[in-house]
Symmetry: C2
Subunit: 356 residues, 2 copies
């Protein structure tokens, strides 16, 4: 694996660094060396994430990192934020020349292409380095339309959807994939965002950079590729946004075009308003209401996963018990308890699954 | 207005030529001279469309057209189909050199860019002609994110949604705009597809060519632009696809991101399976069920419009009466009866509208 550092530009302790957080939790594509973040410098990255040390230092600047890690052959610097607006944040932009001057290539999954910034393009070319804008929209010739061949897939396909964005849908999908593998099943995950690819995902696409006409076909194509190559017992699909988030509602594609066998729903009981939309009148729907909406698209919701941002585990546990009773489906807190409690349910689901 | 011809490659009498059909119904951007379609050649284009002559001849080939219309200064040839797959159909592709050799520029709204076809690009360059691929995705810098400023718009915004695609949503939105104008209201239409732009639409965007992350922002932006420049009494928004069409479900964006004040729903009672998906198990939902789904997104459906493909008007009239009784909202057949019956309802809606 190539050695890589992550740039978070002072945002590491915020929800905007969810790309970096995902990579700290799981990285099968890169060997993480360090993080550059001027606010959290001096700490261990794992401590910042969840209180558990991971031996990944945080440096104030790229210059400091290069000085301290001069024996380490670092190949890539990954831009580790998903900033609103899709632009490279200033705190990261100001470090990028130093990255290239240190002989390190850059990987960027933001909408703004760094290959389009002339100073960086020239510097990278002069030094023979790469500027990888991996979320660039594909060319028309490389995009797939939906065909209905999704029905050829003979294993359960379970999207993890959410009542809002940034609730841990990808992490839950990854934990479920790992837990099912540990229980002896062939499980695969379909990524749909930049972090899933950075973490090493083999099957998936970039939902939000895909022209709308091709969303359903690219989703179907990723699922078909996975089925044809791996013949898994079960697939978990990373959902995007929230079904009723007005800034970009999303969910029906996963249920209908992805031919979902069932849904796992992610929710934060404390989040009354949608992320970054405190002033907007719409409220985050209650899980029971979201489950009804999902049912109207033809899918049953088989478990609720509770996100615990702004909440301690004791409070989350009370919500868990309330929801489980009210909804009649298992409710779990993935980040506190893991997802193993869902394994027998999913094992039964596989056993009783009949493709239609 | 520039004089233009339309190329339909033998598809004029099929649903695939809905772009040409739309232009024949209404063209405020181009002055239509003729159509080239080897199957329907010799007829009048209006006769083929709806039995009403429009004085627009159909020629077999571009060569024949050029011979017969040599006195007419034709500036553009418009590719008038919305073929599945987004590729230029062979029957049109084979005419394009003749178009350029006749000194006519080409306008194309298919996903496949004709500017990418070297023979055409070279020929156009040599002759100083234009190849306009107007549905090319915008550059990132030109795309807008959703902001919530949609709440600044103080008039009713009414999307025309459908239980499937190709049911006449755009035509209904256009007819409603015209009818409200005739009744003395300032009405505007927001286009979301290629035909709407070709017809002369001023405010809108190309839904299916827009990267998913920007759909909600481009929709909001088009509505805001229209509001700021025109301050209309009411806006009608062209919907896309169908809410539960598995090949590309669509609708929640219009309701939530477009902050819909109410919905007008388009439906064909005879269409049991989704367009081009006869073999796929999913059925087109019944209007009463679709209205429930729309309500879950927060909008009331205030009228049903019946599409009459594969149906005579007598049969359609029976459906109209049944639906009107069962649903408790007006049901109309726009292509047979016009949309004037909805004008008093919409006038009341404007009168009682309170922005939230």
């Amino acid at each position: 694996m190539d050695k890589a550092i992550i740039l978070t530009g002072g945002l590491l302790e915020t929800i905007h660094a969810k790309t970096a957080h995902g990579l700290l939790r799981s990285s099968e594509r890169f060997d993480l060396v360090a993080i550059v973040d001027h606010i959290s410098a001096g700490k261990d990255a794992g401590e910042v994430l969840d209180g558990k040390k991971r031996g990944i230092p945080i440096y104030k600047t790229v210059k400091e990192l290069v000085e301290k890690e001069k024996e380490t052959p670092i190949r890539y610097a990954i831009i580790g934020v998903a900033a609103k607006g899709g632009m490279v944040p200033d705190g990261i932009r100001s470090e990028l020349e130093d990255v290239l001057n240190a002989g390190i290539s850059i990987i960027n999954g933001l909408h703004q292409g760094i290959g389009d910034i002339p100073e960086l393009a020239n510097l990278a070319a002069a030094r023979g380095l790469e500027l990888i804008d991996f979320r660039r929209p594909k060319k028309f010739e490389d995009l797939r339309f939906w065909t209905g061949r999704i029905k050829d897939v003979k294993c359960p396909k379970i999207p993890v959807l959410g009542t809002d964005c940034a609730l841990g849908k990808r992490t839950t999908a990854r934990l479920l994939t790992q837990a099912m593998r540990q229980a002896g099943f062939k499980a695969e995950m379909i990524y749909t965002g930049q972090t899933g690819w950075l973490q090493g995902g083999q099957y998936g696409f970039f939902f939000d950079a895909t022209p709308n006409d091709f969303i359903s076909g690219e989703l179907e194509g990723a699922i078909l590729d996975c089925w044809e190559h791996k013949k898994p017992d079960i697939m978990f699909i990373e959902g995007q946004s929230g079904l009723r988030n007005p800034s970009g509602p999303c969910g029906s594609e996963f249920i209908l075009s992805g031919d979902a066998s069932a849904i796992i729903l992610q929710h934060n009981p404390k989040r009354e308003k949608f992320k970054d939309l405190k002033q907007y009148p719409d409220f985050v729907p209650a899980p029971e209401d979201e489950i009804k909406l999902i049912k109207m698209y033809g899918a049953d919701t088989i478990a609720l996963c509770i996100n615990t941002l702004d909440m301690d585990f004791e409070v989350a546990g009370k919500y868990r018990d309330q929801y489980e009773k009210a909804l009649g489906i298992p409710a779990i807190i993935p980040m506190a308890e893991g997802v193993e409690r869902l394994v027998p349910l999913l094992a039964d689901f596989i056993k009783n699954y009949q493709p239609q």
